[in-house]
Protein backbone atom coordinates (compact mmCIF):
# COMPACT_ATOMS: atom_id res chain seq x y z
CA UNK A 1 0.00 0.00 0.00
CA UNK A 2 3.00 2.28 0.59
CA UNK A 3 3.82 2.37 -3.12
CA UNK A 4 0.25 3.25 -3.97
CA UNK A 5 0.32 6.18 -1.58
CA UNK A 6 3.64 7.31 -3.03
CA UNK A 7 2.28 7.14 -6.55
CA UNK A 8 -0.84 9.07 -5.55
CA UNK A 9 1.12 11.79 -3.71
CA UNK A 10 3.16 12.43 -6.84
CA UNK A 11 0.07 13.25 -8.84
CA UNK A 12 -2.43 14.61 -6.33
CA UNK A 13 -2.49 16.71 -3.24
CA UNK A 14 -3.24 13.87 -0.84
CA UNK A 15 -2.03 13.08 2.64
CA UNK A 16 -1.95 9.72 4.34
CA UNK A 17 -4.22 9.87 7.34
CA UNK A 18 -3.68 6.48 8.89
CA UNK A 19 -3.05 2.89 7.94
CA UNK A 20 -5.27 0.79 10.17
CA UNK A 21 -4.43 -2.61 8.70
CA UNK A 22 -1.99 -3.97 6.15
CA UNK A 23 -4.75 -3.93 3.56
CA UNK A 24 -6.68 -0.83 4.60
CA UNK A 25 -5.57 2.77 4.68
CA UNK A 26 -7.22 6.15 4.64
CA UNK A 27 -6.11 9.18 2.69
CA UNK A 28 -7.35 12.72 2.88
CA UNK A 29 -8.01 14.79 -0.17
CA UNK A 30 -9.48 18.14 -0.80
CA UNK A 31 -13.01 18.44 -2.06
CA UNK A 32 -12.23 19.67 -5.56
CA UNK A 33 -9.57 17.02 -6.26
CA UNK A 34 -11.68 14.14 -4.99
CA UNK A 35 -13.38 13.28 -8.25
CA UNK A 36 -10.08 13.17 -10.17
CA UNK A 37 -8.41 11.08 -7.51
CA UNK A 38 -11.23 8.56 -7.23
CA UNK A 39 -11.53 8.32 -11.00
CA UNK A 40 -7.79 7.71 -11.20
CA UNK A 41 -7.96 4.99 -8.54
CA UNK A 42 -10.84 3.32 -10.36
CA UNK A 43 -9.34 3.46 -13.85
CA UNK A 44 -5.62 3.05 -13.25
CA UNK A 45 -5.17 1.44 -9.84
CA UNK A 46 -7.87 -1.27 -10.12
CA UNK A 47 -9.97 0.07 -7.24
CA UNK A 48 -13.03 -0.83 -9.22
CA UNK A 49 -15.49 -1.46 -6.39
CA UNK A 50 -17.25 1.15 -4.29
CA UNK A 51 -17.91 -0.45 -0.91
CA UNK A 52 -19.79 2.47 0.54
CA UNK A 53 -20.08 6.18 0.89
CA UNK A 54 -20.89 7.55 4.30
CA UNK A 55 -20.52 10.69 6.33
CA UNK A 56 -19.22 11.44 9.82
CA UNK A 57 -20.64 14.39 11.69
CA UNK A 58 -17.79 16.13 13.54
CA UNK A 59 -19.81 18.81 15.24
CA UNK A 60 -16.90 19.93 17.45
CA UNK A 61 -14.76 20.80 14.40
CA UNK A 62 -17.78 22.12 12.52
CA UNK A 63 -17.05 19.68 9.72
CA UNK A 64 -18.58 16.72 7.86
CA UNK A 65 -16.17 14.02 6.76
CA UNK A 66 -17.26 11.99 3.75
CA UNK A 67 -15.71 8.54 3.47
CA UNK A 68 -15.53 6.81 0.11
CA UNK A 69 -14.32 3.26 0.62
CA UNK A 70 -12.90 1.67 -2.52
CA UNK A 71 -11.87 -1.93 -2.93
CA UNK A 72 -9.34 -3.60 -5.16
CA UNK A 73 -10.40 -7.09 -6.12
CA UNK A 74 -6.96 -8.05 -7.46
CA UNK A 75 -4.89 -7.26 -4.39
CA UNK A 76 -7.84 -7.37 -1.95
CA UNK A 77 -6.91 -4.01 -0.50
CA UNK A 78 -9.24 -1.23 0.50
CA UNK A 79 -8.66 2.46 0.21
CA UNK A 80 -10.65 5.00 2.18
CA UNK A 81 -10.83 8.50 0.79
CA UNK A 82 -11.74 11.20 3.29
CA UNK A 83 -13.16 14.49 2.12
CA UNK A 84 -13.93 17.29 4.53
CA UNK A 85 -16.89 19.55 4.05
CA UNK A 86 -17.94 22.70 5.78
CA UNK A 87 -20.77 21.93 8.18
CA UNK A 88 -22.67 25.15 7.66
CA UNK A 89 -22.94 24.74 3.91
CA UNK A 90 -22.25 21.08 3.08
CA UNK A 91 -22.00 20.74 -0.69
CA UNK A 92 -20.07 18.02 -2.48
CA UNK A 93 -19.59 17.30 -6.16
CA UNK A 94 -21.82 14.49 -7.32
CA UNK A 95 -19.84 11.41 -8.35
CA UNK A 96 -22.77 9.43 -9.73
CA UNK A 97 -21.06 9.14 -13.11
CA UNK A 98 -18.35 6.96 -11.59
CA UNK A 99 -20.64 4.34 -10.12
CA UNK A 100 -24.36 4.06 -10.66
CA UNK A 101 -25.01 3.17 -7.03
CA UNK A 102 -23.32 6.37 -5.89
CA UNK A 103 -26.56 8.23 -6.63
CA UNK A 104 -28.38 6.12 -4.04
CA UNK A 105 -25.75 6.76 -1.37
CA UNK A 106 -25.94 10.45 -2.13
CA UNK A 107 -29.70 10.38 -1.84
CA UNK A 108 -29.36 8.75 1.57
CA UNK A 109 -26.82 11.32 2.77
CA UNK A 110 -29.01 14.14 1.55
CA UNK A 111 -31.88 12.82 3.61
CA UNK A 112 -30.17 11.90 6.86
CA UNK A 113 -27.39 14.55 6.97
CA UNK A 114 -28.64 17.22 4.60
CA UNK A 115 -25.50 17.18 2.45
CA UNK A 116 -26.14 18.55 -1.03
CA UNK A 117 -24.89 16.84 -4.17
CA UNK A 118 -25.95 19.12 -7.03
CA UNK A 119 -26.78 17.22 -10.19
CA UNK A 120 -27.27 13.82 -8.59
CA UNK A 121 -30.31 12.02 -10.02
CA UNK A 122 -33.45 11.74 -7.82
CA UNK A 123 -31.56 13.48 -5.03
CA UNK A 124 -34.61 15.02 -3.39
CA UNK A 125 -36.79 11.91 -3.48
CA UNK A 126 -37.59 10.39 -0.12
CA UNK A 127 -35.19 7.61 0.72
CA UNK A 128 -36.54 5.92 3.85
CA UNK A 129 -38.21 8.68 5.81
CA UNK A 130 -41.69 9.66 4.77
CA UNK A 131 -42.82 13.20 5.36
CA UNK A 132 -39.89 14.18 7.60
CA UNK A 133 -40.44 17.72 8.87
CA UNK A 134 -37.45 18.24 11.20
CA UNK A 135 -33.74 18.85 10.65
CA UNK A 136 -32.02 15.76 9.17
CA UNK A 137 -32.11 13.11 11.90
CA UNK A 138 -28.46 11.99 11.88
CA UNK A 139 -27.09 15.44 12.52
CA UNK A 140 -25.74 15.65 16.02
CA UNK A 141 -27.69 18.76 16.97
CA UNK A 142 -30.88 16.74 16.45
CA UNK A 143 -31.86 15.31 19.82
CA UNK A 144 -33.66 12.06 19.27
CA UNK A 145 -34.71 11.71 22.90
CA UNK A 146 -36.40 15.09 22.99
CA UNK A 147 -38.00 14.44 19.62
CA UNK A 148 -39.31 11.05 20.80
CA UNK A 149 -40.74 12.44 24.00
CA UNK A 150 -42.53 15.11 22.09
CA UNK A 151 -43.80 12.98 19.21
CA UNK A 152 -44.25 9.42 20.52
CA UNK A 153 -46.03 8.92 23.85
CA UNK A 154 -44.31 6.38 26.06
CA UNK A 155 -46.16 4.01 28.37
CA UNK A 156 -45.83 4.86 32.05
CA UNK A 157 -43.69 2.66 34.24
CA UNK A 158 -40.76 2.09 31.97
CA UNK A 159 -37.51 1.54 33.87
CA UNK A 160 -34.03 1.96 32.50
CA UNK A 161 -30.86 0.72 34.12
CA UNK A 162 -27.26 1.35 33.27
CA UNK A 163 -26.20 -1.72 31.33
CA UNK A 164 -22.63 -1.65 32.63
CA UNK A 165 -23.68 -1.42 36.28
CA UNK A 166 -26.30 -4.13 35.91
CA UNK A 167 -23.83 -6.51 34.33
CA UNK A 168 -21.30 -5.80 37.06
CA UNK A 169 -23.55 -5.87 40.09
CA UNK A 170 -26.44 -8.14 39.24
CA UNK A 171 -25.54 -10.51 36.45
CA UNK A 172 -21.83 -11.20 36.97
CA UNK A 173 -21.07 -10.12 40.56
CA UNK A 174 -17.40 -10.34 41.44
CA UNK A 175 -16.29 -11.12 37.93
CA UNK A 176 -14.68 -9.11 35.18
CA UNK A 177 -12.63 -5.94 35.25
Amino acid sequence: MKSLINRLTEQFKVSLEKQTKSDLCFIRVNKDDAEQLIRHCRDHESYTHLSFLTAIDRIEDNKFTLTYLLHNYQSHQSLGVHVELDRENPVMHSLHRLWGQMATYQRELKEIYGIEFPGSPRLNDEFFLEGWDQIPPMRKEFSTVEFCEERFPIREGRQSTDAKQTMKVEIYPGRGE
Binding site: E130, V145, C148, R151, R155
Partner: protein, 207 residues
Protein backbone atom coordinates in the same frame (compact mmCIF):
# COMPACT_ATOMS: atom_id res chain seq x y z
CA UNK B 1 -61.18 16.09 9.28
CA UNK B 2 -64.97 15.85 9.10
CA UNK B 3 -67.41 17.27 6.60
CA UNK B 4 -70.84 18.52 7.69
CA UNK B 5 -72.59 15.36 6.54
CA UNK B 6 -70.33 13.27 8.77
CA UNK B 7 -68.13 11.95 5.98
CA UNK B 8 -64.36 12.16 5.78
CA UNK B 9 -62.76 15.12 4.08
CA UNK B 10 -59.93 12.97 2.65
CA UNK B 11 -57.60 15.94 2.65
CA UNK B 12 -54.57 13.78 1.93
CA UNK B 13 -55.76 12.85 -1.53
CA UNK B 14 -55.17 14.68 -4.77
CA UNK B 15 -58.31 16.22 -6.31
CA UNK B 16 -58.34 13.72 -9.18
CA UNK B 17 -58.13 10.81 -6.72
CA UNK B 18 -61.12 11.91 -4.66
CA UNK B 19 -63.66 9.96 -6.68
CA UNK B 20 -61.68 6.74 -6.43
CA UNK B 21 -62.06 6.35 -2.67
CA UNK B 22 -65.01 6.01 -0.36
CA UNK B 23 -65.38 8.72 2.26
CA UNK B 24 -68.09 7.20 4.44
CA UNK B 25 -67.47 6.62 8.13
CA UNK B 26 -67.49 3.04 9.42
CA UNK B 27 -70.19 2.09 11.90
CA UNK B 28 -69.82 -0.26 14.85
CA UNK B 29 -71.42 -3.70 14.52
CA UNK B 30 -73.12 -5.12 17.55
CA UNK B 31 -72.97 -8.85 18.28
CA UNK B 32 -75.96 -11.06 17.50
CA UNK B 33 -78.76 -10.45 19.95
CA UNK B 34 -79.27 -14.15 20.58
CA UNK B 35 -76.53 -15.18 22.95
CA UNK B 36 -76.26 -18.77 21.75
CA UNK B 37 -75.73 -17.72 18.14
CA UNK B 38 -73.05 -15.24 19.11
CA UNK B 39 -71.29 -17.86 21.24
CA UNK B 40 -71.46 -20.31 18.37
CA UNK B 41 -69.87 -17.84 15.96
CA UNK B 42 -67.27 -16.86 18.53
CA UNK B 43 -66.28 -20.50 18.80
CA UNK B 44 -65.95 -20.62 15.00
CA UNK B 45 -63.84 -17.45 15.00
CA UNK B 46 -61.58 -18.81 17.70
CA UNK B 47 -61.01 -22.01 15.78
CA UNK B 48 -60.37 -20.44 12.41
CA UNK B 49 -57.71 -17.77 12.88
CA UNK B 50 -56.48 -16.57 9.54
CA UNK B 51 -53.27 -14.61 9.93
CA UNK B 52 -52.53 -11.75 7.65
CA UNK B 53 -49.26 -12.54 5.88
CA UNK B 54 -47.60 -9.18 6.40
CA UNK B 55 -44.29 -9.31 8.23
CA UNK B 56 -44.12 -5.90 9.85
CA UNK B 57 -40.83 -6.23 11.67
CA UNK B 58 -38.15 -8.61 12.83
CA UNK B 59 -40.78 -10.63 14.75
CA UNK B 60 -42.29 -11.86 11.50
CA UNK B 61 -39.48 -14.39 11.41
CA UNK B 62 -41.14 -16.15 14.35
CA UNK B 63 -44.22 -16.87 12.26
CA UNK B 64 -42.40 -19.14 9.86
CA UNK B 65 -41.35 -21.86 12.32
CA UNK B 66 -44.90 -21.78 13.65
CA UNK B 67 -46.11 -23.41 10.46
CA UNK B 68 -43.41 -26.08 10.29
CA UNK B 69 -43.62 -29.67 11.50
CA UNK B 70 -42.20 -28.80 14.88
CA UNK B 71 -44.86 -26.36 16.07
CA UNK B 72 -47.60 -27.02 13.51
CA UNK B 73 -50.00 -24.18 14.23
CA UNK B 74 -52.21 -25.54 11.47
CA UNK B 75 -53.79 -28.02 13.86
CA UNK B 76 -55.28 -25.13 15.88
CA UNK B 77 -56.99 -23.72 12.80
CA UNK B 78 -54.30 -21.10 12.25
CA UNK B 79 -53.38 -20.49 8.66
CA UNK B 80 -51.86 -17.68 6.65
CA UNK B 81 -53.81 -15.67 4.10
CA UNK B 82 -51.97 -13.35 1.75
CA UNK B 83 -54.72 -10.75 1.54
CA UNK B 84 -56.11 -8.47 4.26
CA UNK B 85 -59.67 -8.98 3.02
CA UNK B 86 -59.71 -12.61 4.06
CA UNK B 87 -57.62 -12.54 7.19
CA UNK B 88 -58.88 -11.99 10.72
CA UNK B 89 -55.71 -11.82 12.83
CA UNK B 90 -52.99 -9.25 12.37
CA UNK B 91 -49.73 -10.24 14.02
CA UNK B 92 -47.62 -7.12 14.50
CA UNK B 93 -44.10 -8.51 14.45
CA UNK B 94 -42.18 -6.29 16.82
CA UNK B 95 -41.08 -2.72 16.22
CA UNK B 96 -42.91 -0.71 13.64
CA UNK B 97 -41.41 2.36 12.07
CA UNK B 98 -43.60 5.26 11.08
CA UNK B 99 -43.39 4.19 7.45
CA UNK B 100 -44.55 0.66 8.35
CA UNK B 101 -47.26 2.02 10.64
CA UNK B 102 -48.87 3.66 7.64
CA UNK B 103 -49.04 0.29 5.87
CA UNK B 104 -50.25 -1.39 9.05
CA UNK B 105 -53.14 1.05 9.31
CA UNK B 106 -54.03 0.60 5.65
CA UNK B 107 -54.03 -3.18 5.97
CA UNK B 108 -55.84 -3.19 9.30
CA UNK B 109 -58.65 -1.03 7.97
CA UNK B 110 -59.05 -3.29 4.95
CA UNK B 111 -59.55 -6.37 7.11
CA UNK B 112 -63.15 -7.40 7.69
CA UNK B 113 -64.50 -7.45 11.23
CA UNK B 114 -64.34 -8.97 13.71
CA UNK B 115 -60.59 -8.58 13.51
CA UNK B 116 -57.97 -9.21 16.13
CA UNK B 117 -54.49 -7.82 16.70
CA UNK B 118 -51.71 -9.79 18.32
CA UNK B 119 -48.79 -7.56 19.28
CA UNK B 120 -45.54 -9.44 19.36
CA UNK B 121 -42.48 -8.31 21.27
CA UNK B 122 -41.65 -5.63 23.79
CA UNK B 123 -41.35 -2.96 21.10
CA UNK B 124 -45.09 -2.84 20.61
CA UNK B 125 -45.62 -2.26 24.34
CA UNK B 126 -43.23 0.58 25.16
CA UNK B 127 -40.70 0.81 22.39
CA UNK B 128 -38.29 -1.76 23.81
CA UNK B 129 -34.74 -1.23 22.63
CA UNK B 130 -36.00 1.39 20.18
CA UNK B 131 -37.24 3.66 22.99
CA UNK B 132 -35.22 6.61 21.70
CA UNK B 133 -35.44 5.97 18.00
CA UNK B 134 -36.63 8.88 15.89
CA UNK B 135 -38.77 6.83 13.52
CA UNK B 136 -40.21 4.02 15.65
CA UNK B 137 -43.53 4.32 17.44
CA UNK B 138 -43.55 3.43 21.11
CA UNK B 139 -47.10 2.37 21.94
CA UNK B 140 -48.96 0.43 19.33
CA UNK B 141 -52.30 0.75 21.11
CA UNK B 142 -52.30 4.48 20.41
CA UNK B 143 -52.71 3.75 16.72
CA UNK B 144 -54.67 0.51 16.42
CA UNK B 145 -56.52 -1.49 19.10
CA UNK B 146 -54.52 -4.44 20.44
CA UNK B 147 -56.11 -7.58 21.87
CA UNK B 148 -53.18 -9.61 23.17
CA UNK B 149 -49.60 -8.61 23.89
CA UNK B 150 -46.74 -11.08 23.90
CA UNK B 151 -43.68 -9.66 25.53
CA UNK B 152 -40.09 -10.66 24.98
CA UNK B 153 -37.35 -9.85 22.55
CA UNK B 154 -37.78 -12.06 20.64
CA UNK B 155 -40.57 -14.25 21.99
CA UNK B 156 -40.09 -17.88 21.10
CA UNK B 157 -42.66 -19.63 18.91
CA UNK B 158 -44.00 -21.31 22.07
CA UNK B 159 -44.75 -17.87 23.49
CA UNK B 160 -46.48 -16.97 20.28
CA UNK B 161 -48.57 -20.13 20.47
CA UNK B 162 -49.56 -19.36 24.04
CA UNK B 163 -50.51 -15.90 22.85
CA UNK B 164 -52.77 -17.50 20.28
CA UNK B 165 -54.39 -19.59 23.04
CA UNK B 166 -54.99 -16.47 25.09
CA UNK B 167 -56.51 -14.84 22.02
CA UNK B 168 -58.75 -17.87 21.54
CA UNK B 169 -59.86 -17.72 25.14
CA UNK B 170 -60.70 -14.04 24.82
CA UNK B 171 -62.58 -14.53 21.57
CA UNK B 172 -64.64 -17.36 23.05
CA UNK B 173 -65.44 -15.18 26.05
CA UNK B 174 -66.51 -12.41 23.68
CA UNK B 175 -63.92 -9.93 24.96
CA UNK B 176 -62.26 -9.18 21.64
CA UNK B 177 -64.13 -6.23 20.17
CA UNK B 178 -61.12 -4.37 18.80
CA UNK B 179 -62.84 -3.51 15.53
CA UNK B 180 -65.73 -1.86 17.38
CA UNK B 181 -63.40 -0.04 19.74
CA UNK B 182 -61.52 1.28 16.73
CA UNK B 183 -64.68 2.50 15.07
CA UNK B 184 -66.15 4.05 18.21
CA UNK B 185 -62.95 5.94 19.05
CA UNK B 186 -62.02 6.56 15.45
CA UNK B 187 -61.37 10.27 15.88
CA UNK B 188 -58.93 9.67 18.72
CA UNK B 189 -57.07 7.00 16.75
CA UNK B 190 -56.99 9.14 13.59
CA UNK B 191 -55.70 12.07 15.61
CA UNK B 192 -52.84 9.97 16.99
CA UNK B 193 -52.05 8.49 13.60
CA UNK B 194 -51.94 11.86 11.87
CA UNK B 195 -49.74 13.31 14.59
CA UNK B 196 -47.10 10.73 13.67
CA UNK B 197 -47.63 10.11 9.96
CA UNK B 198 -46.82 13.43 8.37
CA UNK B 199 -47.17 12.32 4.78
CA UNK B 200 -50.80 11.22 4.75
CA UNK B 201 -51.41 10.50 1.08
CA UNK B 202 -54.22 8.01 1.53
CA UNK B 203 -57.93 8.25 2.32
CA UNK B 204 -58.86 8.88 5.94
CA UNK B 205 -60.36 5.42 6.22
CA UNK B 206 -59.19 2.71 3.83
CA UNK B 207 -62.35 0.85 3.00
Amino acid sequence: MKNEDNTFANNGLLPEEMDLFCNARPVPYEPYSIEVVEKFFNWMRANSLWIMAFGTGCGAIELNPLMTSRFDANRYGIQVRPTPRQSSVFVIGGYSSVKTLKRIIRSYEQMQGPKFVLALGICTINGGMYWDSYNTIKRLDHYIPVDVYITGCMPRPEALLSGFFELKRKIKAGECDGANRYVKNLDWYKDNQKRVIKKWDMPDYNW
